[in-house]
Amino acid sequence: MQHAFDLKDITKHFGAVKALNGVTLHSDEGKVFALLGPNGAGKTTIVRILSTLLEPSSGSALVHGLDVVKKPKEVREIIGLAGQYAAVDEFQTGFENIYMVGLLYGLKRADARKRSHELIERLGLSKAADRQVKTYSGGMRRRLDLGASLVGQPKILFLDEPTTGLDPGSRQSIWQIVHELIDQGTSILLTTQYLEEADELADTIAVVDEGKVIAEGTSDQLKSRLGGDTIEFQLESIKDLSSAEEVVKSVAKSSPDFNQDTLVMRIPVHNGSKDLMVLVEKLNRAKLNVNALSLHRPSLDDVFLALTGNRTQSQESEQPKNKKRMKR
């Protein structure tokens, strides 16, 4: 089987900044590959090299067997790119944006029109199709951008942080579209800062940090290295400790952790949402009152803690939002 993309020993330097330090990765056709990493890890640089926007400093990069440096024109004919920031014109309507890109892919007018209408419909933008994009929400722009990247019917799609900064509803609708593409057999390379997203969409995940791949495998393989989900709650009184310990025993994967000062108990579990429901029922039956009951899924931070022993460096504005989202 042909590789959807193939990176061998790729390095990229911007002056003194070493954005990529020897990246070797490949993915099979029809599969979804996720690059997971914090801000500045080098994800966008990899996507830009594969989509012919940047030439690597050294190493080779192939897309469907075509060298991106030697055959950029051929590569551009088979790829679709939805960059990190929605690349759409504010002053054009949603339809005009997609139609324009269709024409630039070389489609005939009638075909471009037909495909654009189909995509608009499929992306749930029919009502807004004839409105200028400046009236669109962030989620709508992202969907439109995705539409533009699909109008040329690419063999491989690059999605650079497709849901960063979106509300949960918009995220869900992007995921749904990506699922449809997966079902159609499109090869996809996506980048993300959310473990949850890579878990939801990807066949294979590569964790990147400081321009290097530090782990690669399926989502299950990665998660087994992480310890999985935890449930957290706070006791009302230290007197409840022994009965609480008794209650959580049945769901705990390993021994729970208890903080004497904050009265917060953390319980590692196998299956977060199911175990949470079981636990709630048991707490009720034992007539134990607890505060701030919550489920924690491993975040990117936890991945890094597990892989490198370091927390990530990405303390940008989106981080707090991200954290909150991880709690369920």
């Binding site: 024109k73 790829i79 920031y85 690349a87 002053f91 005009e96 630039l104 070389g106 040329g152």
Partner: protein, 258 residues
């Protein structure tokens, strides 16, 4: 990239850029209200004082002014080329264009072609307003010649400003950089007043800078003056500017990482 494909892509990009002119109110203002304002202000505010110094018998100030002010307007229009490209370069949209199997020339060529269409509209508006306040062409052929000169010069300038716009780090810088040399070139020229009225040290500059003789060529065509020196000089300048700035702009477009 085959030639027809490049033409098609350029057309697609031109349509896109024309939409921007029509839909962004500030751009529509710069292309329609501003030129009319300039024409009326200069004609009525300065016209009274300056008219008497235009000592070509039988020529009204508006006949002197209009052909020159057209040249100024295509220069101001060129600044918008630079600003528009600087704006695009700073946004994700250029990444999209670069990732498409389209002609590389089309992004810039579509921009400069849209500006020809825009300039044509501006020129038509100004001539119409000019006619209302007394401007008259010498002949229909003269009219065509004058419009052609202004359009050609405007087109060549669009490539100059395209290059400047893509060198600048953002659209504000592009605007500043453009106006820094556009103001002296348009005002220290023969556009508004006859050169003889200026101090002699200034005349040396004014006589030798292109805007002066391009305005002169435009005026000669409009008035039907039978003398072609300025017209030939203009054509040489247009060709020269294109020969230098088309490759420079393309080089900068390919080079610049957004």
């Amino acid at each position: 990239m085959n030639f027809l494909g490049a033409v098609r892509d350029t057309w697609v990009m031109s349509v896109r850029n024309l939409r921007r002119y029509i839909r962004l109110p500030q751009l529509l203002f710069f292309s329609s209200v501003q030129p009319i304002m300039f024409l009326l202000l200069f004609n009525y505010v300065f016209g009274g004082a300056l008219g008497s110094s235009v000592r070509i018998p039988g020529i009204k100030y508006i006949d002197f002014l209009l052909p020159g002010i057209l040249v100024q307007m295509v220069m101001f229009g060129g600044v918008q080329t630079g600003i528009g490209l600087a704006d695009d370069m700073g946004k994700g949209i250029v990444d999209r264009f670069r990732s498409l199997p389209m002609s590389r020339l089309a992004v810039v060529a579509g921009r400069t072609f849209a500006d020809v269409v825009r300039n044509l509209t501006v020129i038509a508006i100004m001539i119409a307003v000019g006619y209302l306040i007394g401007f008259r062409f010498n002949s229909a052929l003269a009219a065509l010649g004058m419009v052609a000169i202004a359009l050609l010069f405007g087109y060549a300038l669009s490539w100059v400003f395209a290059f400047i716009g893509m060198m600048a780090k953002d659209s504000e810088t592009a605007q500043l950089a453009s106006f820094v040399f556009i103001f002296p070139l348009t005002f220290a020229s023969g556009v508004f007043v006859p050169i003889q009225t200026m101090p002699s040290w200034l005349q040396v500059f004014v006589r030798n800078q292109p805007v002066t003789f391009i305005a002169e060529a435009s005026r000669q065509l409009a008035l039907g003056v039978n003398e072609q020196g300025a017209i030939w000089k203009t054509i040489v300048w247009v060709i020269g500017l294109l020969a230098v700035f088309v490759p420079l702009a393309m080089w900068q477009y390919k080079r610049r990482v957004s």
